[in-house]
């Protein structure tokens, strides 16, 4: 049984984080989203993978290689022209018989993958609250009747989870699929044609984490950190406090006065402390520095970034190679406690979160005592001058004084 993972997309709704990496390579709990899927699929018994790559394919290829590190066999196929999910799956026609397809940017559980494997010609379903944002699935018992694209007033809260078990028949329908109104070949259209004469089973999933916008990384991060077990490789000084499940990578040093409250994961070669406070659901990448009088809470810090002195970072994402100046702080809660709205790619969006700090791209430098307001989005390579206030969306390569 081969597992085809769709990993070609750029993830425009993840800007600015995906300007420099494909969506599936965004880190959650210090591993790319794609790796979590890979691990779960391996645990469900899969040994052969085909990863469909496209946007910045070399990053996926360099990280996963031929799969030796996981004791599995990984092959790659480049999607070429990005023309939708049906096109992406159509590309592997010559390499598969009965196969699993999963969206590389959605995290699926091991048990659910196993259930899908056992049902040839099936697809994963999940019940959610905000079904209007997804493909709605009409079912008759367990049988798929039709998949509808986004509906304003969905008649059910059962949606398409983005995991499938197909056999060769699907390719006949992929070939017949026409472009959708948004100009792509959609696998849901192929499935709708197929289920007219071929039975397809719906399998309800127990776990499902969809990652669309940057702040969803924080939710996914929290879910995964809840499952981790304590594991310490680094050096811990005297007079530090490490509570709960904390992972500390190789060559990382935790200096005196640091207070770490799990679940927290800290990568390799980090310098943490002295005298800092790292709160639950924080992931700190490799080669990072969190220094004196800093507080990090429910945040993701990518590799090679520093929060060296007197910083508060809450409910935030800090990209690679960032440096926060002394006293740079992040606001993460509105004074009126209302949900936070952000501007992303020029569009105003309700995050439905009460707490959200900054989404910061790569190579950002902030000056001393600069302030990032709630829901600020800072593009790559920005310079934020001393004492500056950042609100709304700051485009890549901006400077504010």
């Amino acid at each position: 049984m081969k597992c085809v993972i769709l990993a070609a997309g750029e993830g425009k709704r993840m800007h600015p984080l995906t300007f420099t990496r494909p969506k599936v390579m965004l880190p959650i709990a210090n591993k790319p989203i794609l790796e979590w899927n890979l691990i779960n699929a391996i645990e469900a018994g899969i040994k052969d993978f085909i990863i469909i790559v496209g946007y910045k394919s070399e990053m996926v290829r360099n990280y996963f290689g031929n799969g030796q590190r996981w004791n599995v066999n990984i092959e790659y196929v480049n999607q070429g022209r990005a023309m939708g999910t049906a096109h992406a799956i159509g590309v592997v026609k010559k390499f598969v018989d009965s196969f699993i397809v999963l969206s590389g940017d959605t995290i699926f559980g091991k048990q659910d993958i196993e259930n899908i494997i056992q049902n040839e010609n099936s697809m994963g379903l999940i019940k959610i609250d905000n079904a209007e944002d997804y493909g709605i699935v009409e079912i008759d018992g367990n049988r798929i009747v039709k998949i509808y694209e986004k509906m304003q007033r969905p008649f059910t809260n059962v949606i398409n989870a983005g995991i499938y078990h197909f056999n060769k028949i699907i390719f006949d329908f992929i070939e017949k699929t026409k472009k959708s109104p948004r100009g792509e070949y959609e696998i849901t259209d192929s499935i709708n044609m197929m289920v007219k004469d071929n039975e397809m089973q719906g399998v309800f999933l127990s776990e499902w984490r969809d990652v669309v916008y940057p702040w969803h990384l924080l939710d996914a991060n929290e879910e995964i950190l809840k499952k981790i077990n304590k594991h310490i490789d680094g050096d811990i000084d005297k007079n530090t406090m490490i509570r709960g499940d904390v992972i500390i990578g190789k060559n990382s040093r935790i200096l005196s006065g640091s207070y770490i409250e799990g679940p927290v994961v800290i990568g390799d070669n980090c310098k943490i402390g002295p005298n800092c406070y790292i709160r639950p659901f924080s992931s700190i990448g490799n080669n990072c520095h969190v220094g004196n009088a800093c507080e990090i809470k429910n945040s993701i810090m990518f590799d090679n970034s520093n929060s060296p002195h007197q910083n508060y970072v809450g409910d935030s994402i800090i990209g690679e190679n960032c440096n926060l100046g002394a006293g740079s702080k992040v606001a993460n809660l509105r004074l009126d406690k209302k949900n936070i709205k952000v501007i992303l790619n020029g569009k105003k969006l309700n995050t439905k979160r009460r707490k959200l700090g900054v989404i910061m791209g790569d190579n950002v430098q902030t000056g001393i005592n600069s302030m990032m307001n709630i829901g600020a989005i800072v593009g790559n390579n920005c310079f934020i001058g001393p004492g500056a206030l950042v609100s709304g969306e700051l485009k890549t390569d901006s400077r504010i004084e």
């Binding site: 394919s57 480049n78 070429g80 590309v91 390499f95």
Partner: protein, 604 residues
């Protein structure tokens, strides 16, 4: 210039090849064709754009094939001349970019062996030469065949009997290999396949490669297999048409070693010590010519001014350079004068009108253009192609140097006919020409230094360019390039003229770019620099690498390699282009599309 693509993989080759060809459309687009290896070779080709090919092509099945887009430099734009070309038994199909110089001899040889030909192209000769060498191993046949070829080529070959592979080879024309997953590519340019893979292998001159679905093999000219390192391309598809350069103008500046080579390739013969043009052109150049009129606009006009110095020096015939819009109404038309129009696009309305005027007055007319089939090629008695490939940046760069070189070749030809040039001189000029691409590469390597000097100029309100002799029109061109893309006011002056007026405008904040060559005016130009320095401005000198004096006089010096003084106009031009480019870049100007300007001016 043509574009070629080969694909061997798991997708429908038809779709992939056409998709890739579209990315090469910038290399040319007058005809296109594909060959898909299925049960037999399936070929479709036609005149027109690639989108036309796409809509008309039959639904060929197969996952191995080759395709070609043509931009005629030789021969008419016809379906027969479009690629792929097949061998006489229809079993071997090839696509070719380049020019085979000895194809006439090879063709005669093959005809003697009883092989029939259906087109007049040099490419069909390659197909049959491979057929003639084929003994069941396509790679071996190609290896043997290319040993016989003189000239330049990038070829991709497929064979009915070996449906699982493509064989490629190159010499002096570009060919790169794209290494994919379960699929591999071959193309003139990375742009073609970048959507499918960003891992490439570069093929060097004389090498042969085999492209299979799951393997690529490269062999050197001695048939020894080579292991090459795969390169990862960092730029993405949006930058691709510019081959990774930030602007078309810079790409085109960097194209010049190739475009220069293309101008003289096939036209000069080192062995026979002569220059050859098409017979239409040779018929025009007779001993009776007593003067030459060069008519053109804009940058082409400056190429004409440079040409005047070259032609007069080599042929002793007087040359009158006129702006097309002036010549048309006011120029003297003499029946014994050869009128040469210069137009990159061949559609410049002023030049077309002037040419028609000249022709109506009984003059012989010749056109130097970059576009096959353009109006200018039809209104004139004969035409010479610069073969520079499409130029997209509005500021002309590679076509300017090619125009000068065409005029240089013409001057040599007239010199030969008029007996005004000695055999040894001619031989030296031919050798100097062949050195030019290398010299231009040396200039391009200096781009960083030129950028540093551009920093000194970027805030100027006005800049003077000065030179004497052939360097005077180069000063005009240097000033034109700078003003059209950086919007800094710039003027070119004959250095001796400064004191007759322009000095009134010279202040200590007007930088001066001086072109200094080691000729009989050397001391004069040094004196002119002295006059300039006395008024306080900074002087940037463009000088010969052996000039040890110049540092004493100028604030900054950009060097060009010492060679024939007459051909140093080419490296100097490239320096001026890079200088203008870097100044405009530092000023954040819209380099490829300057305000108020159009590439081809079709209004009078």
């Amino acid at each position: 210039m043509c574009g070629i693509v080969g694909y061997n993989g798991f997708r429908d080759a038809n779709n992939v090849l056409i998709d890739c060809l579209k990315r090469l459309e910038y290399r040319g687009y007058d005809s296109a064709g594909v060959c898909i290896v299925g049960d037999k070779l399936q070929i479709f080709k036609d005149v027109g754009e690639i989108s036309k090919l796409e809509s008309e092509i039959p639904d060929f099945k197969g996952d191995n094939g080759i395709s070609h887009t043509r931009w005629a430099t030789h021969g008419a734009v016809t379906k027969d001349n479009a690629h792929p070309h097949v061998s006489c038994d229809n079993k071997i199909a090839i696509i070719h970019n380049g020019i085979i110089e000895n194809f006439v001899q090879l063709k005669e040889e093959l005809i003697k062996k009883g092989i029939k030909f259906y087109s007049k192209t040099d490419s069909e000769v390659i197909a049959n030469l491979i057929y003639d060498n084929y003994k069941g191993d396509l790679k071996q046949a190609v290896t043997n065949a290319i040993k016989r070829l003189k000239g330049s080529y990038a070829i991709a070959v497929v064979c009915d009997d070996e449906p699982n592979l493509i064989v490629g080879a190159r010499k002096e024309s570009p060919l790169v290999i794209g290494v994919g997953d379960k699929e591999n590519f071959l193309a003139s340019d990375i742009t073609a396949f970048l959507k499918y893979t960003n891992r490439v292998l570069y093929l060097d001159d004389g090498e042969v490669c085999i492209i299979k679905k799951d393997a690529v093999k490269i062999f050197d000219e001695h048939d020894k297999e080579l292991k090459k390192q795969i390169d990862l391309i960092k730029w993405d598809i949006k930058d691709a048409e510019k081959s990774g350069f930030p602007h078309f103008m810079l790409k085109e500046i960097y194209d010049q070693p190739d475009t220069i080579h293309r101008v003289f390739m096939g036209r000069i013969s080192e062995i026979n010590r002569t220059v050859n043009f098409h017979e239409n052109i040779e018929n025009l150049i007779t001993k009776d010519i007593n003067s030459i009129h060069l008519i053109a606009c804009g940058t082409s006009y400056y190429a004409g001014l440079v040409g005047k110095y070259i032609i007069e020096k080599l042929t002793k015939i007087p040359v009158i350079v006129e702006l097309s819009s002036e010549y048309r109404y006011f120029g003297t038309k003499d029946e014994n004068s050869l009128v040469i129009g210069i137009s990159q696009s061949g559609e410049t309305a002023d030049t077309l009108a002037a040419l028609r005027q000249g022709k109506n007055s009984g003059c012989k007319t010749l056109v130097i253009t970059n576009v096959v089939g353009s109006t200018a090629t039809r209104v004139s008695d004969a035409y010479i192609l610069t073969q520079s490939g499409p130029e997209i940046g509005v500021a002309a760069t590679k076509t300017f140097t090619s125009q000068i070189l065409v005029l240089f070749l013409l001057a040599l030809k007239i010199g030969i006919i008029k007996n005004s040039i000695g055999v040894d001189d001619l031989y030296n000029y031919i050798l100097d020409l062949k050195e030019l691409p290398k010299i231009v590469r040396q200039i391009l390597d200096q781009s960083k230094n030129i950028k540093e000097i551009a920093v000194q100029l970027k805030n100027a309100k006005s800049i003077f360019f000065i030179g004497r002799g052939i360097n005077y029109p180069l000063s005009l061109e240097g000033a034109l390039k700078l003003k059209e893309i950086s919007y800094i006011h710039a003027e070119g002056f004959a250095a001796g003229e400064l004191k007759h007026g322009p000095f009134a405008l010279l202040t200590n904040i007007t930088p001066v770019v001086a072109i200094v060559t080691n000729d009989l005016t050397y001391n004069k130009i040094i004196a002119n620099i002295g006059e300039v320095k006395a008024r306080g401005p900074q002087v940037v000198a463009i000088a010969d690498e052996n000039d040890t004096e110049i540092e004493k006089h100028a604030d900054f010096v950009i060097r060009f390699p010492s060679k024939s003084s007459i051909l140093s106009c080419i490296p100097i031009t490239v320096i001026l282009q890079l200088l203008a480019y870097h100044v405009a870049r530092l000023r954040d100007c819209s380099i490829d599309k300057p305000r108020n300007l159009a590439k081809s001016v079709t209004v009078e």
